[in-house]
Symmetry: C2
Subunit: 190 residues, 2 copies
């Protein structure tokens, strides 16, 4: 059950509402823990019930009120406890890889198309993450920031996400190219 911890980690950056998390999750924490809005709302309620986060109602005009949450002492202690328990091994879990695995038995055309599309998505995501990196370190150069910055967690995970997206981009394009070449080869009666 790491969604709760992902939420706690995200709330280390300040006060957020469920709605804000649901938006921001896509660029920040969502690089390594994706969740739907409904899950976030539910998790925040549960965390509040357990006293790991505290919420306050913010009355707004011209738009619905919202609840802003922050981590409590108990929440921080829970994060601490979580960080000290052994991590589970991670793995990629991806539809598209399943399709590529099966590509020898089926029509490669839709797989090629999806690889192309995925490459574009990965490129766009890489750009967003690259910009986020710049924003996170501010003025300082990277080495300096990593040595002395006081909030480097998001920076470090963002670097991982960026490397992943770049890797995805490269692999998708190379794989698509290989499959395209084979279609040509087979057609020319190799």
């Amino acid at each position: 059950m790491a969604l709760r911890h992902a939420v706690l980690a995200a709330l280390l950056d300040g006060e957020f509402s469920g709605y804000q998390l649901a938006k921001g999750f896509d660029i920040g924490v969502a690089n390594f823990w994706h969740a739907l809005p409904q899950q976030l709302y539910a998790e925040l309620s549960r965390l509040e019930g357990e006293g790991l986060v505290a919420g306050r109602e913010v009355v707004q005009e011209g738009r619905p009120n919202k609840r802003m949450f922050h981590v409590t002492e108990a929440g921080l202690a829970e994060l601490e406890r979580f960080a000290a328990t052994p991590a589970k091994p991670s793995f990629i879990r991806d539809d598209l890889l399943v399709k590529v695995q099966a590509v020898d038995g089926i029509d490669p055309a839709p797989v090629i198309a999806q690889l192309q599309e995925r490459a574009a998505v990965a490129e766009a995501k890489a750009e967003v993450l690259g910009k986020l990196l710049v924003r996170l370190r501010g003025e300082a150069d990277e080495g300096e920031f990593l040595r002395t910055g006081r909030r480097i967690g998001p920076y470090l995970t963002c670097r991982r996400g960026l490397a992943f997206e770049r890797e995805t981009y490269d692999w998708c394009l190379r794989t698509a190219e290989i499959l395209r070449q084979r279609v040509v080869t087979v057609r020319s009666g190799e």
Copy 2:
């Protein structure tokens, strides 16, 4: 529901029992779709019920009988259909990244230890995948194999897995080093 398709894709390589899949899943398809033995057995039964795979009982001596499964025509058609439906975006989902994200608020020592451990796991996995790559392409050089081999799906996904593990390895070591340096910096009263 891509587990079923991962199983179908795995069965493209021949006939396997649930037990064999449960073992082999760790090195082949499991690079992008992890599953516990129980899930595989259950999925195979379901697939058999739907006629997407067919099983036959193999009587053995000195050990329990087993059921060997292969993909049927209908199963292949299902894979074809699956490959043609748009892929969902993928993302990393990883405990350890959550911990790194939170590292500014907690004790970094256990996080550093887990990064080190994860690097070792990734290195070992990368080596296994590297060997698998060599085994899959056999005598041929890579370019030749990719152009003319008749079963390249597993090779292509294996390359992705290898790149991922290498990336994980690098990131873990670099991140651990950065965190270690900071501990020193803080201690020396920066």
